[in-house]
């Protein structure tokens, strides 16, 4: 594989993720750091994994990449440092003898993966007494998205140059690194106007937000809970999704169930007319592509669901389908990305304030994502059978609540991630119950 470039421009999605990282740390939250927890049976070949990480140009690049601003008011870039930080760690079992399915070691949970200092990616392996292992793959979201992680895992799993060594195009989207120059500024600004106008109009109408109006008092905590569905429950959910959304709008069904559960919570809080504003990212890679591994390749759709439509799944799915068609027709996703691109010269704090302006700082009522199948087509990794995969994502403030759906094997999971001053535990219990009910039970 030819040498990877020493300096790479950020994609528009990367800068958004970095600004979120900055905003989260300012609110006292851990940064915009995700973690994939992979439970492996006893066959994990640690030497092979160590060799792959140490000998991989892609891992070398990721270990050295640092976010730098070459000059004030110039956009940030990735530049590789001479220093390569350690990115592979082994830990003793933190809970020997306990029956808990897994526990993230404190050192992993507390490790700061800052894009400016690096490293942005780490591998932590915990070997258990029974020979099984957990791999905790943590990454700063500025570097990779969930699909990039899947591709990175596939790449590391492929032994030998002939079997899966990526080209530069697999690692990086060449379009991302093309200079746009000043000539591209005005068409970009014109394109960005559509989404900013829509958000501005949306922000003038009442919006529901879980975030308390006062600034956070002291550091906040980001809490997470995974809702797991059995194979038969997953089959029931799939069948309901097919009935309601003709199969291809599975994400709409999941989002509708999430909005209905949020609506029940909002009604208990006394919300009458605050609509639910939800940005939904969409992966822009082509199906079956081997890359790009690096960067956040996304486009965004914004949905706005009025409380009068939020009580029935069928009504919500209908509203989402209409809005999706309208927004794609109006080139809203391209407009959104143009807006994110134009703002790249701003310092992260100002960037977030600027993006939050149209909605008076509320930004969204809920952060939602459907990652689809995790590790698709992979049954083993570095010699060990994959038993389970969990995807932990951070929650931003605002909106204070993130719901992520993902599947592994024939089982669906949903991860709730929230900020402790935005939702209480009793509310989370109810949200979980309502979300399960919305997904599994027929509505009248």
């Amino acid at each position: 594989m030819p040498d990877l470039p020493r300096q790479i421009r950020l994609a528009a999605g990367d800068y958004f993720m970095h600004a979120q990282d900055h905003g989260m740390r300012q609110a006292g939250l851990p940064g915009n750091v995700c973690c994939a927890v992979i439970h492996l049976d006893r066959g994990l070949d640690l030497d092979r994994l160590r060799r792959r990480i140490a000998g991989s140009p892609v891992m070398d690049w990721l270990a050295r990449a640092r976010l730098v601003r070459p000059l004030p008011l110039l956009p940030l870039v990735w530049r590789t440092s001479r220093e390569r930080e350690a990115i592979f760690f082994e830990h003793p079992d933190p809970n020997p003898g306990l029956e808990t399915p897994w526990s993230r070691p404190a050192v992993v949970a507390k490790r700061e993966l800052r894009a400016e200092r690096g490293p942005g990616v780490t591998f932590d392996v915990v070997r258990h007494a029974d020979g099984s292992s957990h791999l905790f793959l943590s990454w700063n979201h500025t570097l990779l998205d969930a699909q990039g992680l899947d591709l990175l895992l596939k790449y590391l799993n492929a032994d030998g140059a002939a079997n899966g060594a990526p080209t530069i195009e697999d690692f990086l989207n060449p379009e991302q690194d093309k200079s746009r120059g000043l000539a591209g500024w005005w068409p970009g600004a014109k394109l960005a106007r559509g989404s900013l106008k829509w958000l501005g109009e949306s922000g003038r109408e009442p919006l529901f937000s879980l975030v308390p109006p006062e600034p956070p008092a002291g550091p906040r905590r980001n809490l997470q809970r995974v809702l797991r569905f059995t194979e038969s429950e997953t089959a029931r959910i799939e069948a309901r999704s097919r009935d309601l959304a003709a199969g291809f709008r599975r994400s709409h069904f999941f989002l509708a169930a999430s909005i209905r559960a949020l609506h029940a919570l909002a009604v208990r809080r006394g919300n009458r007319d605050g609509a639910y504003l939800v940005p939904v990212p969409h992966d822009t890679r082509r199906h079956g592509a081997k890359g790009p591994i690096f960067s956040n390749h996304l486009s965004i759709l914004f949905y706005r669901v009025e409380p009068r439509d939020a009580g029935r799944i069928r009504d919500i799915v209908g509203a989402l389908s209409r809005q999706m068609a309208d927004q794609i027709r109006d080139r809203f996703p391209q407009s959104c990305m143009a807006a994110l691109h134009l703002c790249q010269w701003m310092p992260p704090g100002y960037y977030m304030r600027h993006l939050g302006k149209p909605t008076c700082g509320k930004v969204a009522s809920l952060s939602f994502s459907d990652s689809g199948e995790l590790c698709p087509g992979m049954t083993e990794w570095c010699g060990a059978r994959i038993l389970d995969v969990t995807h932990l994502v951070p929650c931003w403030r605002s909106p204070g609540l993130t719901i992520l759906f993902y599947g592994f094997g024939n089982r669906l999971s949903a991860m709730l991630s929230w900020v402790d001053d935005c939702l209480g535990l009793v509310e989370v219990d109810r949200l979980e119950r309502d979300a399960r009910r919305a997904l599994l039970e027929e509505e009248l």
Partner: protein
């Protein structure tokens, strides 16, 4: 715009659009590939339907987005050809 009426020609146009926009090079994909396994998600489906509106001049109503019509591009093309016939309710 005179809508295309031959399902095979419609399927070929849809396939070309899908290859250019959703399916990676080297992936096996043709008119008869199951759409659910070819990376056609909700976003791609809407793009495909808007392409039908724009280029073929046919709007596919939600009531026609059934599992059978979305089984493959051939099936979708047959549905579009049916809708494109003069006097069809949603064309």
């Amino acid at each position: 715009m005179t809508p295309e009426l031959e399902p095979q020609k419609i399927a070929a146009q849809l396939c070309q659009f899908a290859r250019a926009n959703f399916v990676a090079e080297g992936q096996v994909f043709d008119e008869n590939s199951p759409l659910s396994k070819a990376g056609i998600d909700s976003f791609a489906l809407v793009e495909l339907l808007l392409f039908c509106e724009r280029v073929l001049g046919v709007r596919v109503p939600d009531s026609h987005l059934t599992g059978a019509n979305l089984a493959s591009l051939s099936a979708l093309a047959r549905c579009i050809a049916e809708l494109a016939r003069p006097g069809a309710p949603a064309s």
